[in-house]
């Protein structure tokens, strides 16, 4: 598909907006529809789009395998880490109100980091699964 000028051009226009939209959905999830899952999936979709148009090798340069694999695990660790932080600061596991001087701000901070963790894991997993499926076909024949 890299020779098809129209597709490449459309992809070049669209992919930055898709990435921006993923970030918007992630951070605006408090005020409108959205949140970690949707943002993670949209981010993975942007990279998959890039891989479809420009080829897997170029996509691997943008999102190398070790990065994607570690993203899968780091997200879960961030989430669990927020819980442990709640423990260390005096509350129960996954208590958010101890995370800041003010319970409501603590909730905000906790929700922010938790959503970041979720989005990281979801985008990492979706991308890794895509890489595995795409890899299988190329090496088979």
């Amino acid at each position: 598909m890299r020779d098809d000028l129209l597709l490449r051009w459309a992809a070049k226009l669209l992919i930055p907006f898709i990435l921006l939209f993923a970030l918007y959905v992630q951070f605006h999830g408090d005020f409108g529809p959205g949140g970690g899952f949707q943002a993670g999936v949209i981010l993975a979709a942007a990279v998959i789009f890039y891989a479809l148009i420009y080829g897997l090798a170029d996509a691997r340069k943008v999102a190398p395998e070790p990065l994607v694999e570690s993203m899968m695990a780091i997200g879960v660790l961030i989430y669990a880490g927020v819980g442990v932080a709640g423990l260390l600061l005096g509350g129960n596991y996954l208590d958010y109100f101890v995370l800041d001087h003010d319970p409501v701000h603590g909730q905000h901070r906790g929700i922010f980091w938790v959503e970041v963790g979720v989005a990281t894991t979801v985008s990492g997993v979706m991308l890794k699964i895509f890489y595995m499926f795409a890899d299988r076909g190329r090496v088979d024949e």
């Binding site: 529809p33 979709a45 996954l94 929700i111 990492g124 997993v125 699964i129 890899d135």
Partner: protein, 166 residues
Amino acid sequence: MVVTVWVLGRSRNLFVVVVLSGVYSFFMATVLVAMDAVDVAMTEASVGAGISTVLFLGALYLCKSREAHAMRRPWLPLGMSLAVGATLVYGTLGLPEFSDAQAPIHQHVVPRYLNEEKDEVGVPNVVTAVLASYRGYDTLGETTVVFTAGVGVVTLLRRRRRARAS
């Protein structure tokens, strides 16, 4: 949606089946928006119509087959499905009507979420607040499930380069 599912069931070309499942997911997302479930609709549209279709197409490319003949004389499964469906319909007759404000689902804990949420969490999107704060454990489990699925797929589809060299 009903028509989509019907055509999907009858079709034997797997590519058509996969595309129709994406169409069905989009219809479902539209219905969900009509039900005021905007978060869920966004997730269903991106995950169901997006990622699912991509995965199906990937698997289809690797499997490359067309469905063989459908089961002849599917009377027993059809009868069973109709019987189970009739029983379920009979069961749902006892459920609250559509948009019933006195239904049990709207009592108990949900008024507390809607009313106290502004003071306790302060986040306008109640769904995000419930998902990340009130029901944070469930979301932790869900994230772990997603991680486990990724690990599972990696384990299943990992290439063993050593075996091929021998």
